[in-house]
């Protein structure tokens, strides 16, 4: 059983590809310890939830994720992604149509936004700057935490039983002190604010600033996307932050379209990884991780093939990794808690997706034409969202859902024939399991109808433009993309599953319970979204272990 590779990456999602590229390059400092890396991807194409596919002739769909902002600029630059073909085009508008009157529209330009909001409420227009400033302060605190391994306070205990860091606790202490110092620099009031913000509901937070019901519902959008929580559930304010902490060229909170769809992100990262020497195999589903004497030594593919490596790193979500690819007995031999951590890991899916080919540009009710350029959020006030959430709580899709729509073809000439458009519709809330019955084709058609009806109501004439529609429920997303229960973040982004508790207590630093086993997907810190940070952080920890002799490099050489 000679190890053929230094590292096997299980799963070719964008995070797995980032890990592969970083390992193959030998880390940020592009050091001597360049590793021999193999990526194994189940599907016939890499990318996972960051994927472009031609589902209907002539149209490229971003089949899952659809907008880009979170991708860390450090990664963009280090992997030289523009040279590998990645272009992110920012958009500057967010809007919400209104079938009964004037819609809401915000622009990158604050003066313009103020002008637009004043038509609804002068008070809210003026409060907007304060609100935006507060979010910026929160982002300022969280940003330095993204591209680092979360320090674990239990590492300070000399008798700690966990496996956080095999070769010294100094890093954790330094990390904690750094966070404490950063925290202190925020000032007394902001320190209180941060704790409040990380735990409160978006509803309560917005109530402190704004009065206009539709504006509040609109502002809450980013805090419910991908969560199984309602606008007044504690913890939703943090989810808003998670969507705001991205940037385009240093502009915090800005979002953009990846030219050619979100698959371009994965494609560029894969290209960088291969240039650095990584091997990528598609149609190669991993069945089991081979563990021997408490050490991961390789993987078995679905077709029975065994491949050995010095290390194995999983890009899959924690549930899939620990409940499907790993034998329970192997886990229990190390620590019986881990199996139950995996079982109890919160990963409820709550979102569906419609990808639609359109014969022309739709016109949204109560909005100027320019609104089609950016995100169009179909919803209403908090009541609307609460009702949508109620349906979900009781095991059905929202009959009148909240929809986050984009039409990237307003700026991207590569995704549809001239004059035609691709529209991505993200649907909140959709359960993984229906209360009464499984997701049958009939049920799926009924779900699709409710979504299209909701759009039609907000964009009269929309239905007539539809050329083709691909509908995905969380159940489809699990089966087609491999995200357990269709949870878009590979595990909910609530405080109990964040920082050093992500994915599980004691395993928050990308190392798994076995020697030579690691995790690099969105199920690790800092979480989901097309961000790349988990992948880069994991690679850094792996390289440290190689460097410190915990693992010895030089496989097959």
């Amino acid at each position: 059983m000679n190890a053929t590779y230094d590292a096997i990456v299980v799963g070719g999602g964008h995070n797995g590809l980032v890990t592969a590229a970083y390992l193959a390059k030998g880390g940020e400092k592009a050091g001597k310890n360049k590793l021999k890396v193999l990526v194994l991807e189940r599907y016939h194409k890499v990318g996972g939830a960051a994927m472009s596919e031609e589902i209907y002739p002539g149209f490229t769909y971003s089949t899952c994720s659809y907008v880009c902002s979170l991708l860390r600029p450090e990664i963009f630059r280090f992997l030289d992604l523009p040279r590998h073909g990645l272009q992110v085009i920012p958009y500057e508008i967010n809007s919400a149509p209104n079938p009964e009157g004037e819609g809401i529209i915000t622009y990158r330009d604050h003066d313009r936004t103020r002008e637009s909001l004043r038509r609804h409420s002068i008070k809210d227009a003026e409060a907007y700057d304060h609100y935006a400033m507060e979010i910026s302060r929160q982002c300022r605190f969280i940003k330095p935490l993204l591209m680092v391994t979360p320090p674990d306070p239990t590492a300070l205990n000399p008798f700690a039983q966990n496996r956080i860091n095999p070769w010294g606790k100094r890093a954790d202490l330094d990390g904690l002190l750094k966070i404490a110092a950063e925290f202190g620099r925020m000032g007394d009031k902001q320190m209180y604010e941060i704790i409040r913000f990380w735990t409160m509901s978006i509803g309560d937070f917005l109530d402190e600033y704004f009065e206009h019901p539709r504006w509040k519902g609109f502002s809450a959008a980013s805090s419910i996307i991908g969560t199984a929580l309602g606008p007044y559930s504690p913890g939703t304010a943090y989810v808003l932050l998670h969507h705001y902490m991205g940037e385009v060229d240093g502009q915090i909170g800005a979002w953009g379209f990846a030219r050619g769809g979100m698959g371009s992100v994965s494609k560029a990262i894969a290209s960088a990884a291969m240039e650095a020497g990584a091997e990528i195999r598609t149609n190669a589903e991993v069945d089991k991780i081979i563990v021997k004497n408490g050490k991961a030594i390789g993987v078995t593919l679905k077709n029975g093939e065994e491949i050995y490596a010095k290390t194995v790193v999983s890009n899959l979500d924690p549930k899939r990794t620990y409940l499907k690819l790993v034998e329970k007995s192997d886990l229990d031999a190390i620590d019986p808690d881990i199996h139950s951590y995996a079982k109890n890991f919160k990963i409820r899916g709550s979102s569906g997706k419609l990808n639609i080919a359109l014969d022309g540009l739709p016109q949204f009710a109560g909005l100027p034409k320019e609104a089609a350029w950016g995100t169009i959020d179909i919803g209403g006030d908090f009541d609307y969202i609460e009702h949508a959430y109620d349906d979900y709580k009781y095991g059905s899709w929202s009959k009148r859902p909240f929809l986050d729509c984009v039409i990237p073809t307003t700026v991207d000439p590569t995704m549809a024939p001239p004059g035609k458009h691709f529209m991505s519709v993200f649907v909140q809330y959709v359960p993984y399991k229906l209360a009464e019955q499984p997701w049958t084709p009939d049920m799926k058609a009924a779900f699709e109808k409710d979504v299209l009806d909701t759009i039609e109501e907000n964009a009269p004439g929309f239905r007539k433009l539809i050329l083709h529609c691909q509908t995905r429920t969380p159940w489809d997303i699990e089966n087609e993309v491999g995200l357990t229960e269709g949870n878009i973040f590979q595990g909910e982004l609530t405080l109990d599953q964040m920082l050093f508790n992500r994915p599980f207590p004691g395993l928050g630093q990308y190392r798994g319970p076995f020697d030579n086993f690691y995790m690099c997907g969105s199920g690790t810190h800092p979480g989901g979204g097309v961000m790349g940070a988990p992948g880069a952080n994991a690679a850094r920890e792996m390289l440290k272990d190689f460097k410190n002799g915990v693992v010895k490099a030089g496989a097959g050489r």
Binding site: D111, R112, E115, E126, D129, M186, G187, D188, K369, E370
Partner: protein, 394 residues
Amino acid sequence: MTHVQHLKPFLRKTPFFEPIDRLMHGNGWIRWMGYYSPAFFDSEQSEYFATRHGASVYDVSPLIKYAIRGKDAARFANYLVTRDLTKVKPMQAAYTAWCDDDGKMIEEGTIFRLGENDFILNAALHQLHWLDESAYGFDVEIEEISDQLAGLSLQGPTSREILQQMGVQGIEKLPHFGIMETTVDGHWLRIDRAGFTGDLGYELWVKPQDGIWLWETLFRIGDPYKIAPMGSQALDWLRIEAGFILVDADYTGSHHALRPTSRVSPFEAGIGWCVGLKKDAYFVGKRALRAEKEKGLSRHILIGIEVEGRKPAPGSFLYADRAGKQEIGITTSAMWSPGLKKNIAFAKVPPSFVKPGTQMWIEIWYPKEHKIERSMVKCWAANRMFYDPPRKKA
């Protein structure tokens, strides 16, 4: 591309847009809080000199104006700002700061007292959110009235004569920071004797529909008195000479500071004289400001400095020693003053360096023939009000 085709211009035009546009050479329009505002007409130098030897006209309509009225207006206004407004009588104005609870400056501006319980606050930034929040428990009504008044600032030695010739009765009796209301040719006119130039000058407010009348009358009558339109670039020179600070140029307003340490108190901004610690009533930030004053907690003070040589020194570091080992501060606004023939700047320095005449060193980087060169020259503390002619108050 779809988005570009459909983006419509949205900046608002003040009532003076058309006449200004006609006089502008090249495109001098910039944005000011959502309005078109002139940066220059022809040359900022001639516009600057017009203010110092004749009179200049600057469109101040975009200033954000809040009316504060109601039973508790006087009590509220006095609670809101740092100045003691009990000393400001109806039809008087006052320059003041307003602070957050920590005594850090949100902004500064002019508050006009029109009646016992009738005020207008002029601000450079939007403040309604803060005003509403602060008004909790007071019986007041706060309304943004920016669009209800159009304003021109008439500044310079001949400004008074121009108004006299226009037929404004009693203008010669209007004291510095006084307010009067009058009618000229059947048009309502409010005049206050204040401005941002440090010179003799007035701000003239009319109903928006009377804007064109005011503009045309001023230029018709003002011609022999060397009247000229002015843009914000010349105004910037004038206000630096006069020692006036500007939010976001010389200090960060506390509401948009990302870090609490970047906020400043009025003492630190060098307008400590605006803080009425002796006033009986509590005002926002009083406790913190009193502690700062009593315990000497100010970290730095924004002073004026004069700099050797002629190279303007914005954003330059100051040192205690020529070798540049002990860094003590930084400049904010800076210019070569064509009127005073001095190289001047505002600088943030520790309290021990503020005494006029205290010598320091300053490191200036300046472009010269495609290179950036460095010079280390002397500078010394000075009264920030570099230009203060007797006519301003006479």
